[in-house]
Assembly symmetry: C2
């Protein structure tokens, strides 16, 4: 179909542009020029072809969907409907029924498309060893200490504060304590530079909310955190990616991108990056700051596991380096080093944007739950968090070492038929390490073999924003104890052997879609 | 300025439309045709004039702002900058500094404009009686019961669940208990029709998220809940309003609007509406459902205070009436009948949209805090919520009666110079009643007199989406005890008398802006 030819008169001045495009398509559909079930170009394709804004095409398509002339199929595209209503465009075409699928927002459609493409997690039988999630170990959750604190609090003057609204910026007691946690991370933050959020995910959501419009450029590391990608893409951001090396984001590629694009935001995880486990060197931190300062691009620094450093102190956050205070929005959470169920994290940001972040927080959920805030404040005040972190760091370090040792023992000698080997990262902290199979392999296919052996991981394509690299996968090393890690890696090794054998003999297997879980269960 | 003439060639095909508009404006600014400080048309005006999409104009303006050629002033408009950079449009015009004000999203700018216009709350001296907020009485918060529950839970098998992530849809124990609360409200909801949210505000935010795009029509009652208005407007929705009468939303005006607009959503509070306290009759509930069914328009039914009925049971929710299951998204919260600090509410919605709501919840904050969910589940399971509601209903009913009596005694005889009187609503439940001064009066001005007497309320213009009605205000009758209510109304009466005198003698006073609080403190 020559679309330009079909639509060539759409730029004549006869009403809004989207209406012209819509009418031209409508005519073509009604005249049969565009037959039933024919596929339409994507928004982006048609916008480029006609040299118009994507929102213009999107609006034309939306009107046609609402008129019942075309329909969208998730993951497949937009098509001329086979069963079209006989009526002409009618403001109230539907009667007596809500047609939900035509009512969803662009944002919701994007999230749905993204998650449907990526959700390949399956529920597993009892006994499966999971390296898939990103959740701290439940046995370390602070039950007893919390019990004592809650008892004290409910008898104290602060009791009513656990039940009342907290200010949007956070409960004053917690803000005060978080300032101390931040100081220990090398970050100084004044009272009007902090916001308590309901976990890191909300932090990313709020920052996106106040900065990112449709078509804005957001630069991310590749691979990166799935739900951050989702937040940016759902705002129709133009997500551009720069590869992560052992020493952090690749500086050459980053500079090229910063100099050629007017970016709204750079999203980074300098410490123990999710999913690779890599950390940015101090030199690279300074260079990234210098680059972003030169090009005036703000950084969202996600330090989700900053307190979980297993080899001395973590490197200083970008926010703490010269220039960082002006440029960096810094976020952290208690979800990884302590426990995730409280849903408490923080954002530190330049004063100029804090009012906006607080307003965004207010319109999102008014404030974070007070009970968790007041309990955490007391837990921090009593020095219990510091002790807890010391305790879990020792345990997690041991687990990382066990994982690295087991990988060496059981995977070190494995070879594909062409002699290629499996590689993995050696993180100095955090939760994750990242394995790379020989280039012709598929981690998604390997996962099927692994599941048969009773072990799971997070297949790598989940963490890619643009072009998925299929031969990588993530394992979480903090959730299982040493014995289970050893056994899990043995199973993984057997799975890889069998998989290597299988790709010599037959074409790769495909995923059995009946076993797919619902998309909202994609792991963190 | 003849804008059409100035921009008349913008529709020639020479690159994207926004670029043409931008270049034309740039030329005019640089040539001096558009002098420094001259005012540009609004997005809407220029879009109408040129017959293009508003987003096209908006993008052209954004580029010019980023190029330093024009600037926006909140509440005043867009102007040619007096101090323009000498350079030409440059992708990296700014160096060494982030210019935050140019980076904010359209959404954030809208929220900021809206709240800056509306935030007229001032901090008050000790001893001031506040009828302003919408918060339940702290003395009724369930301290002791929660203490017992937390102790039991932390020793039980469910302890670790308080610290882990809950599923996005909510903790299973709480979902089960909320189904029972819903059943008592007459609403049946299957497992795949409920979502736990972090308070009602998040419920509105998520529904808006999945349904509302820029320029979509959302119909609201007028007056309505400020933060719902904010959620809709921040998505650039076209908010249309229908007045609320004693018997609920005006049906004639609603039908006219439904038949002439393709609305995306109707937002309603049928019970004890915020701010009027009015409730929709059963006949009107049925008629609204019939209308929305005919026109295929979904309803967001916000039953924020549904359990606080002081005259027998609340009327059945729209969701429970024939046709409601297909059309109505129903939301409730524990914030008003129990306490707000837990940040727990729920959404009930047709299956077809629940997957989308859960995905939206997931990308917003992953899940609601588990501790509050598990504690609440136990509190509900033990029958304590039911007892609590019975208890507070008796107390609040008494307070409402005290308030109505005091108003009658102290305000009933008050007259403005023209003999006009003060009127108020007589709510059958909830938190609020709504007072109307004679038409020529300003509640905002009265508030200054009231504050001098030591009493505050919520000035009515806060609750208007389009054309504020200046002579109304809201009082919350559940937060103060009988004695304080009596004294507060006496003070109010003195304030009104003095105000009535003053408007005979001199022009109305204006608000002293130095005493304005930060916008995020606007009350609920």
């Amino acid at each position: 179909m020559d679309w330009l030819d079909l639509l060539k008169n759409s730029h004549e001045m006869e009403g809004p542009l989207y209406l012209q495009i819509m009418n031209r398509l409508k005519e073509s559909i009604e005249s049969g020029k565009l037959p039933d079930r024919s596929k339409l170009p994507t928004n982006r394709e048609l916008a480029t072809l006609l040299d118009v804004d994507r929102s213009t095409v999107s609006r034309a398509y939306t009107e046609l969907v609402q008129a019942g002339l075309i329909e969208s199929h998730v993951g497949r595209g937009t098509f001329v409907r086979a069963a079209k209503p006989k009526t002409h465009l009618n403001l109230n075409a539907k009667s007596g029924q809500v047609s939900w699928s035509e009512k969803f927002s662009r944002k919701s459609n994007t999230v749905s498309d993204l998650l449907n493409q990526q959700s390949t997690y399956r529920s597993q039988p009892e006994g499966t060893i999971s390296f898939a999630g990103g959740i701290p170990t439940e046995e370390f959750y602070p039950h007893e200490q919390f019990e004592e604190i809650v008892q004290q609090l409910l008898k104290s003057e602060n009791a009513r504060e656990m039940f009342s609204y907290s200010p949007a910026e956070g409960h004053p007691l917690l803000l005060h304590q978080v300032q101390k946690v931040l100081a220990a991370q090398g970050v100084s933050a004044a009272d009007d530079e902090i916001l308590i959020v309901s976990g890191s995910q909300q932090g990313i959501d709020l920052v996106t909310d106040i900065l990112v419009d449709a078509d804005d450029v957001v630069i991310l590391e590749e691979p990166s955190y799935l739900w951050a990608v989702c937040n940016f893409k759902s705002r129709q951001a133009n997500c551009l990616t720069v590869p992560v090396a052992d020493t952090g984001i690749e500086l050459g590629a980053l500079e090229q991108m910063l100099s050629s694009q007017r970016a709204k935001l750079l999203y980074l995880m300098p410490n123990f990056q999710n999913p690779t486990g890599n950390s940015m060197t101090i030199e690279n931190r300074q260079k990234v700051l210098a680059l972003c300062t030169r090009y005036g691009v703000p950084i969202l620094e996600d330090n989700f596991a900053g307190d979980l450093s297993y080899e001395g102190a973590s490197l200083p956050p970008l926010r703490s380096l010269p220039g960082g205070k002006e440029l960096v929005i810094y976020q952290g959470t208690f979800s990884k080093a302590l426990c995730p169920g409280l849903r408490v994290g923080w954002l530190v940001a330049p004063r100029e944007i804090m009012t906006r972040l607080r307003l965004a927080k207010r319109s999102c959920d008014l404030s974070t739950n007070s009970m968790a805030q007041v309990i955490l404040a007391k837990y921090l005040e009593d020095g219990l968090y510091k002790n807890h972190v010391e305790h879990v760091k020792k345990a997690y370090r041991k687990r990382r070492d066990t994982m690295l040792g087991a990988l060496e023992r059981h995977l070190g000698a494995l070879e594909a038929s062409n002699g290629a080997k499996v590689f993995w990262t050696r993180p100095s902290g955090g939760l994750f390490l990242w394995l790379t199979l020989p280039v012709h392999c598929s981690a998604k296919d390997l996962l099927l073999f692994a599941e048969r052996e009773g072990v799971t991981f997070s297949s790598g394509e989940l963490f890619y924003c643009n072009k998925p690299q299929n031969n990588c996968f993530r394992v979480c090393f903090i959730q299982q104890n040493e014995e289970t890690i050893e056994e899990g890696v043995k199973r993984l090794s057997r799975a890889i052997s069998t998989y290597f054998d299988s790709i010599q003999k037959r074409p790769p297997q495909t995923v059995n879609s009946e076993r797919l879980r619902r998309p909202e269960n994609v792991l963190i």
